[in-house]
Symmetry: C2
Subunit: 519 residues, 2 copies
């Protein structure tokens, strides 16, 4: 199996020829952007004094309060051996222990895609966008809100494959409720591997499902290749405050030991799972992330790991989380500063909203999260497109609208060109001033107009009269049409038949080996 | 007249008592925020090298290409006397001349409001939000798009008065087409003065209309007071590329000589009125702004002035301007850096969009402009609420939605509190970790929950089920209800009857003195 897969991988990855041309044709109308290499500065919200205070406080929390590693005897032993003070399931960390262990984690790593042109660099000045993750519901192209199916899942993988500024295929783009809970990870990973050639995320809902992801990755990339390269990222949530549960520890151990990337993310509704202040939340995030990242390095020194944070504010009236508000943006900016200080890749942000509809609330809130994502220097942005209703819903229309915003970020991130062409002094001298002077016809304008300005694929900037004639469409109506077109135009990237067969067989065998479970 | 006005001003401004109490009651349900005093850093897009190159290029443009001061012989003489090289109507500026003249302009100034609690600081670390300016159309609360009327104008002044995070009453909140063109400025200024106690903008469409604004301001504030204080801001647009026309020069001279503030703003559709690149546009903006700001100081050294820029990108297909795109944000960040370098207050940004509807496009684009407005360090943000359709339409619904976003900026601008309460270490120690640990009941949370997180007045973060029961409303539907409520709840701030009488008389006399003109 591995032999055939290796062959397939070599042909799929290295090969030009018919395979490459067909893959190219599939998305010929949508030129794909590489992951973002930011040429602009990061925005910083914390000064040196604040950084120092919060870091010191996090050290105090790690030592005094500690972090619970729950229902995992092996983890406790590993911590004891590493020199931590283990009291029952609670680990107290001597000052400096976590930071010392974290040193083996790489500051930047490549997640390989089966199409090498789609591989992404995670860390440094790079930003990678990945789709919405986790919603049990979808809002369909007919406007219905219902439980998600495997068919929806495949549609979202296709949309992510088509979207030029979506760099990653993601993970649970929606939760396919029509597939047994103990088997759906097989179909999900299979869909990412076969319907897309962008990098993907693995299952984390049980250690054996994480292991299935690794095994299927070995079929796709070859066994040795997977041991020596990162081909999977995985989302390891911390149970804030200050608890790692056995499910997440199990997945973390599988991936870290396989040399695959863990995105360690405290998932925090501020005021409920962390203190109600930004500095207090950052303190807790820092303690949790350091403990979990250090643990990943105990599993395998050098295993790629991403420091993450997902924070929302909370309505103190209803208890509902709120998105796109100032405080989560401040947490993002602050946590990003710490990730850079620690020399670690950073995950946060996305296009988050609490809105039930792809309306103005959804867009304000998403933009209020996405701009900090870019300016804060996020390296891996999950939920970059499609998120609605506080993460309960994957929306087709919002996915496409968000992707348009992602493409705009690519342009923003390129910064201001200051070369001779950018300075445009010839144009200023040519056009001069006064009656009838304008730049539209200038040689410099003509030479640059195709790439000068970001061109939205969703925004309507025509005259009112033309917009009226064209049916007075709103942004989500235009996005609806685009989503339908992308799905209709989709052509699967070619895959070596032997690899495909082996993947199909792995999934079939695994599925047959156990009864369906729906909880 | 002036005597009575002075008396009125003193009573209106200094006086407590019934007047103050009634004014307070009028907006009792909506606590007003003061102008923003930013505690956060500015974001910078240009490095030192880029700053130096662009500034040097602007000097070359000022000297080689020059700026035209059109149909204004006095201006030409003033420039000749100041040492410029005047060739016909074209002024060539020896290197350093403009910068030298600009030195008398204040780095920060107070625009006084008739209610001193509403006076605003323009410059430095302060940000002042003002409403949409200029649209000939409105989108009504019944969804109709039609020409604006004086009744709409009054409604928008009322909305701006009610909105907690709107610091300024603005100017032409919409263009009241039902009032003769040569008289409407009187009604507009009268509306700002009587319906609001926030600071306002003056007419710029003709020198005599600017003069009317100054005269009415003298009635409101007293003659000496106006000569010694800034009580009006005015929007002086430059006809890019590189032309000042007689209308704008006329208004500029009136306001500057009266010691009132001019906001000097190149209005640029990039690629049409300036080079197609960000650096080229910044070069032109810098040349234009320096020439006009220097001229304001020739009119009256020390006259308050704001360096402005309004830049959009352009669809190279249709020629339509595009908003909320990356390039205008880059122009904003860059121009703000130059304003700080020159030690001048800066105007830009707002909540701009090309959308015809208050939909997702409108919100993405507005947020993409508003975040740079705050992070870039804009001091005066015109069009902060209500702008739709590229500035052709003032929208009631969008006004209210934007105001919600403005209030969020107040919170963002406050930065991260790092005092003992902000650090929240007591809370972390109190809550600890593990089963059942949460922060909702913690003493620290209880003590802070009212102010901890921004609370949107428009966003719906309730459960899907509750939202469904409440009628499945979109954000603009909720904003519609709020706009109706604000207008219904509006109570005019009290005004001294003598002042009111004098203002009414001034307007009536002026209107009677000339026939109606509709073009």
């Amino acid at each position: 199996m591995a032999e055939a897969a290796n062959e397939g991988r070599r042909r799929g990855r290295g090969g030009g020829g018919a395979s490459a041309r067909r893959a190219e044709r599939g998305s010929a109308s949508l030129e794909q952007f590489p992951y973002i290499q930011r040429k602009i500065k990061e925005y910083e919200i914390l000064d040196d004094e604040a950084l120092e205070i919060i870091e010191r406080n996090a050290d105090i929390v790690l030592e005094e309060v500690g972090v619970e590693f729950r229902d995992d005897a092996e983890a406790l032993t590993m911590w004891k051996d590493a020199g931590a003070d283990v009291q029952g399931e609670r680990i107290h960390f001597p000052k400096g222990l976590c930071r010392e262990l974290m040193k083996t984690a790489p500051g930047q790593f490549t997640q390989q895609a089966r199409n090498p042109a789609r591989s992404v660099e995670i860390g440094g000045k790079n930003t990678v966008f990945a789709p919405v993750y986790g919603p049990p519901f979808v809002r369909t192209l007919d406007g219905e809100r219902r439980y998600a199916t495997m068919e929806d899942f495949r549609d979202f993988v296709k949309l992510a494959y088509m979207a030029p500024a979506m760099h990653h295929s993601g993970g649970t783009v929606c939760e396919p409720g029509d597939v047994p809970v103990n088997k759906r990870h097989l179909d999900m990973v299979h869909a990412h591997m076969t319907l897309s050639d962008k990098p993907y995320m693995g299952s984390v809902t049980a250690p054996e499902r994480a292991q299935d992801t690794v095994e299927m990755s070995k079929i796709l990339f070859g066994e040795d290749y997977v041991d020596n390269n990162c081909v999977v990222t995985s989302l390891i949530n911390i149970n804030s405050p200050l608890v790692m549960d056995d499910t997440m520890l199990g997945a973390l151990k599988v991936y870290a030991r396989a040399g695959q990337a863990c995105i360690i993310s405290p998932f925090i509704v501020g005021g409920a799972m962390s203190p109600v202040t930004v500095a207090g939340t950052l303190t807790q995030v820092l303690a949790e992330a350091q403990a979990a990242i250090a643990f990943s390095q105990l599993c395998r020194p050098g295993a790629p790991v991403v420091m993450g944070t997902f924070a929302t504010s909370i309505s103190m009236q209803s208890g509902a989380p709120a998105f796109g508000t100032p405080e989560p943006a401040q947490v993002l900016y602050g946590a990003a500063q710490f990730a850079r200080k620690f020399g670690l890749p950073f995950r946060s942000g996305g296009s988050l909203t609490g809105s039930k509809l792809p309306d103005a609330q959804a867009a304000y809130e998403s933009a209020n999260t996405l701009t900090p994502t870019l300016l804060g220097g996020v390296n891996f942005a999950l939920h970059a497109a499609g998120w609605l209703e506080g993460g309960l819903v994957s929306s087709y229309e919002k996915f496409v609208m968000d992707c348009d915003q992602l493409a705009a970020q690519q342009k923003m991130a390129a910064g201001v060109a200051i070369d001779e062409n950018g300075q445009a002094m010839d144009a200023i001298r040519e056009v001069g001033l006064g009656e009838g002077s304008h730049y539209l016809g200038a040689a410099h304008t003509q030479a640059n107009f195709k790439t000068a300005f970001y061109r939205s694929t969703i925004a309507d900037n025509n005259s009112f009269e033309q917009w009226e004639v064209e049916g007075e469409k709103s942004a989500p109506q235009r996005a609806n049409e685009t989503a339908r077109k992308w799905i209709a135009d989709y052509v699967a990237p070619e895959m070596d038949p032997g690899t495909r067969e082996a993947l199909d067989a792995y999934v079939a065998t695994k599925k047959e080996s156990m009864p369906d479970a729906f909880t």
